[in-house]
Symmetry: C2
Subunit: 213 residues, 2 copies
């Protein structure tokens, strides 16, 4: 997640510096609004030099996506091993929150893809969200019984995930409305506390579940 090429503190290669710059710009402006000139400027080279490292703009975007997906996929699928208990859901959610907090770019890229419906949307869905639904099928008694047999279980999973990601994609709004850096340590604690409390409330809720259709 630190976008560095090697595990030691060696200087990153040009290809990695291009990836870093492109990741930030794609995440901020989206694919078509980012120009290769912008990327090259941020790296400190001319735009034709980019073609020494990536076939074209599309390949650069895919490389950015690939690096982000490999960085994020491991903790997302860790819920697949073993039964799903309340505690594991808690720690899984906390991991996701901290991950997106440490690098907001995946959520932003995903949001751009969802809005514009580009060709990479399906790959993002398959690698990020489908694993969640597979693990979700294994939820066992005593945990999230509220959503059992209501048909709302996938909706609830998506809701909590959207909660995490929309915090990141809406970060500028938070900055202006709350008057503090949304990526500071205290802001992270606030968001974690809120989400955990929401989850606790859902776990503790014994009222009638919602109807399904």
């Amino acid at each position: 997640m630190d976008n560095s090429a090697t595990s030691t503190a060696a200087a990153p290669s040009t290809a990695d510096r291009i990836l870093n710059a492109a990741e930030d710009l794609f995440a901020e402006k989206g694919y078509s609004a980012t120009s290769l000139g912008d990327v090259a400027d941020r790296v400190g080279i001319r735009s034709p030099s980019l073609y020494n490292h990536f076939k074209n703009k599309e390949a650069l975007y895919e490389a950015v996506l690939e690096r982000l997906l490999t960085d994020f996929s491991a903790p997302l699928t860790e819920l697949n091993g073993g039964p799903v208990t309340n505690e594991r859901v808690f720690s899984w959610l906390e991991t996701i929150v901290r991950q997106h907090h440490a690098n907001p770019n995946l959520a932003r890229l995903l949001q751009h893809a969802a809005l514009s419906g580009g060709p990479h949307t399906n790959e993002l869905i398959d690698r990020l969200f489908r694993p969640m639904f597979q693990s979700d099928a294994k939820i066992e008694g005593g945990s999230i019984t509220l959503f059992q047999n209501t048909g709302l279980q996938p909706w609830a999973v998506m809701a909590f995930n959207n909660l995490v990601m929309s915090y990141v994609t809406m970060a500028p709004m938070y900055r202006d409305l709350l008057g503090q850096d949304p990526f500071s340590e205290t802001a992270l604690e606030n968001q974690l506390n809120l989400i955990k409390m929401l989850l606790r409330a859902v776990f503790a809720y014994k009222g009638e579940p919602a109807a399904t259709t």
Copy 2:
């Protein structure tokens, strides 16, 4: 919210047809990725003809924004009159959900603005979100006591709002993952049931509130 010019079913004027097309395209691709040629094509005219109705691309975008904001602002501020009870929070949230369901474009435009941090972000914040926080300050005893004096109240407001809006901005993902049209009537009912149940769970939760910093 039906994007028609008059209250009767008269044919919409060219300016309104331009607004409709531009709204859809800006919401889908964002400002800079939308070309005036795309807008003109969708209307069925040539792009220079757009300048007979709007000064330039920027003015067209602002007109789109203005129409959306006036359509959406009324129910958003209706919570300001009188004390905030649980029932009124329920109906207010339901109104917002139905509004974004009927026209998803405002949420998408807002998401684009938040991601790219364009010059209109501040106006959107002021007209959409600040009213919520003003009404939020008036919450009275017996309602959302959970967040009183925790410092998390604005965070909770934003969280529920993000929940509603991210459903709309992530609609393509829902379509692929759940295998149904996210804007169908049954999908709307599902989302409403989930959000209402979350709110009920929060209202009913008597555990310790989260710490604040």
